[in-house]
C-alpha cells in the first residue's frame, strides 16, 4: 500500500500546525508518506454550491493523480482536513454510485489526459494511525505521557457524516483511544460531533459564535483543560474567537484548542515548534501545568 499526503489549502495556510504535527508524528513513526504531486483544491467551500459537477471533477483530479503516481500499487490518499476528507470520499463514491456523474467526470478528465479507475482509498489520518499503524506501535514512541491533560476530543461533523467508514457515527472514539494511549485522560462529553458553527462564523457571526461557545463551555464543565480536534475549521472557530465569546456570553472561556496530532507529538517528546504549537493563540501551557 502506497500512502500519499493530501494537504489541501488549510494545512498550507491557516492550520500549518496541523501539517507540521502530522508530518512530524508520521516521521517519528517512520511511516513513509509523501505529498501528492500537483494536487489542487478539493472543491469544498462554496464551489460545491456553485457547480457541483465541476467541484467534483476538481476533486476527482486529485484521485486520478494519486492513482497514476502509485502505478499498479494500491494507494491511500491521506487527507487530514475533514472537509477535504469528506469531499474526496464523496466524489469517490459518487463516481461509483451514479453512472451519469462517473461518466461525465471521466470524460472531463480524459480531456485533461487523465483517467481514473476508482482504486484510491481516501483515508483520514486517525484511520491510518489506528488501523494501519496501530495503537501499540504508537504507544511505544511515548516518552512524555500526557499526565494531567484532561482532553475533550472533538471530531466535528464532517469526519463521520454522512459516511462513517472507520468510526462510530454518533459516538466516535478513535481520537479518545489514541490520546488515552498517550497518557491523556479523555473526558466523557456528548458533543463530539456537534456543529462548531462552521462557516456561519464568517456570515452570521452571532449564531456561529454561540455554537462554538456551547462546545467550549461544555468542555470546561466536564473538566477538560484542552480540546483536541481533527479539523482546521473547527480548530479555527473554537480557538480564535474565545475573547469575543467571553464578552458576548459574559463568562470567561479560555481553553487551548489543539490538533490531536500535536498532542501525540508532544507525548512523543517532539519539540513544540516542530509541532507548530507556537502558532496557538491560546497557549497549551496555560491550560495545564503538567502539559
Amino acid at each position: 500500500m502506497k500512502y500519499l499526503y493530501y494537504p489541501g489549502c488549510s494545512l498550507k495556510g491557516s492550520s500549518r500546525g496541523y501539517e507540521e504535527s502530522i508530518l512530524a508524528v508520521f516521521g517519528r513513526l517512520q511511516f513513509p508518506m509523501e505529498e501528492l504531486d500537483g494536487w489542487n483544491c478539493c472543491g469544498a467551500t462554496a464551489y460545491m454550491a456553485v457547480d457541483e459537477v465541476k467541484a467534483l471533477a476538481l476533486a476527482a483530479r486529485n484521485l486520478a493523480l494519486a492513482e497514476d503516481s502509485a502505478g499498479s500499487e494500491p494507494v491511500s490518499l491521506v487527507a487530514p482536513c475533514n472537509s477535504c476528507y469528506l469531499v474526496l470520499s464523496k466524489v469517490q463514491r459518487y463516481m461509483q454510485e451514479f453512472d451519469e456523474i462517473g461518466r461525465t467526470i471521466s470524460q472531463a478528465m480524459r480531456q485533461a489526459g487523465l483517467r481514473y479507475r476508482g482504486d484510491v482509498h481516501v483515508r483520514h489520518p486517525l484511520d491510518v494511525l489506528i488501523n494501519d499503524i496501530g495503537i501499540d506501535a504508537i504507544r511505544q514512541q511515548v516518552v512524555e505521557p500526557l499526565k494531567g491533560s484532561k482532553v475533550a476530543c472533538y471530531y466535528g461533523c464532517q469526519m463521520v457524516r454522512p459516511y462513517a467508514t472507520f468510526d462510530d457515527q454518533y459516538n466516535p472514539t478513535t481520537m479518545d483511544d489514541l490520546l488515552a494511549a498517550m497518557g491523556a485522560e479523555p473526558v466523557p462529553w456528548p458533543l463530539k460531533t456537534r456543529c462548531c458553527g462552521g462557516s456561519l462564523t464568517g456570515t452570521i457571526e452571532k449564531a456561529g459564535l454561540r455554537l462554538s461557545y456551547i462546545l467550549l463551555r461544555e468542555a470546561k464543565e466536564r473538566g477538560a483543560n484542552v480540546i483536541a480536534t481533527c479539523c482546521p475549521l473547527c480548530q479555527f472557530n473554537l480557538e480564535c474567537y474565545q475573547r469575543q465569546m467571553s464578552a458576548m456570553f459574559g463568562s470567561e472561556v479560555d481553553i487551548p484548542v489543539v490538533y490531536f496530532s500535536q498532542l501525540i507529538g508532544k507525548a512523543m517528546g517532539i519539540d513544540d515548534r516542530a509541532l507548530g504549537l507556537n502558532r496557538l493563540f491560546v497557549p497549551l501551557k496555560s491550560a495545564s501545568a503538567a502539559v
Binding site: M95, S106, Y116
Partner: protein
C-alpha cells in the same frame, strides 16, 4: 467504474434468457416480486424445477443451442436447501461447467447462478435486470451452426449460418 459511454447495441436485440428456478426459493421469490408488483426486464423465461439440484448441465447447453443468449440458475442459499444439499450439487456442476464454457468461448456473464431466498423478490428483479443489461451489451450469442447433410455450410456467408444457428 463506468468508462466511455459504450455504444448502444442495435435496438432490435432483446436478450433471451432461460431461467431454471428452484420451486422453494427463487421461483417463490419471483412470485413475490409479482405480488409486490416489482417490474423488471421481460426477457427471462422461467422453468420451474423442484430443486436447483435437478438442473442438468445438458439443459443449459440445450437452452443456449435452442437460441437463449443467457441462462440464469436460481437456488436456495447455502444451508437452506429444501432437500438439504441439492443446491450444493448445483454449485459443483456450475463451477465445472463454467470452466468448460470458458473454453468453448462463451462469455462469463451468459450463465449465472444466484442464491435467492423465497423472500427476496427484490433480488429477482435486481439480478434479472442486471443480467439482461450485461447480455444486451454482449450482444446475441452466436453459437457455431451445426451442419446438416442437405446444407453446405461453406457455401454460405458464415455470419448468416451462425445467426441461423442462434434462432433455430
Amino acid at each position: 467504474m463506468p468508462e466511455d459511454v459504450s455504444l448502444p447495441i442495435a435496438e432490435e436485440f432483446e436478450p433471451r434468457i432461460v431461467a431454471f428456478f428452484c420451486n422453494w426459493c427463487t421461483y417463490t421469490a419471483s412470485d413475490l416480486a409479482g405480488t409486490s408488483r416489482m417490474t423488471y426486464a421481460p426477457n427471462t423465461r422461467v422453468i420451474r424445477v423442484m430443486c436447483s439440484g435437478r438442473i442438468d448441465p445438458q439443459f443449459i447447453l440445450a437452452a443456449l443451442r435452442g437460441g437463449a443468449d443467457g441462462v440464469l440458475l436460481g437456488g436456495c442459499h447455502p444451508g437452506d436447501c429444501h432437500y438439504q444439499a441439492g443446491n450444493y450439487k448445483c454449485l459443483r456442476r456450475y463451477r465445472l461447467l463454467k470452466r468448460l464454457l470458458a473454453q468453448m468461448g462463451i462469455e462469463e456473464q451468459r450463465v449465472r447462478l444466484e442464491w435467492i431466498a423465497a423472500s427476496e423478490g427484490d433480488r429477482v428483479q435486481k439480478v434479472t435486470n442486471e443480467m439482461v443489461e450485461q447480455i444486451r451489451k454482449l450482444g446475441p450469442l452466436n453459437l457455431e451452426h451445426i451442419p446438416a447433410p442437405d446444407v453446405d455450410v461453406d457455401a454460405e456467408e458464415p455470419l448468416a449460418a451462425a445467426a441461423e444457428g442462434a434462432v433455430s
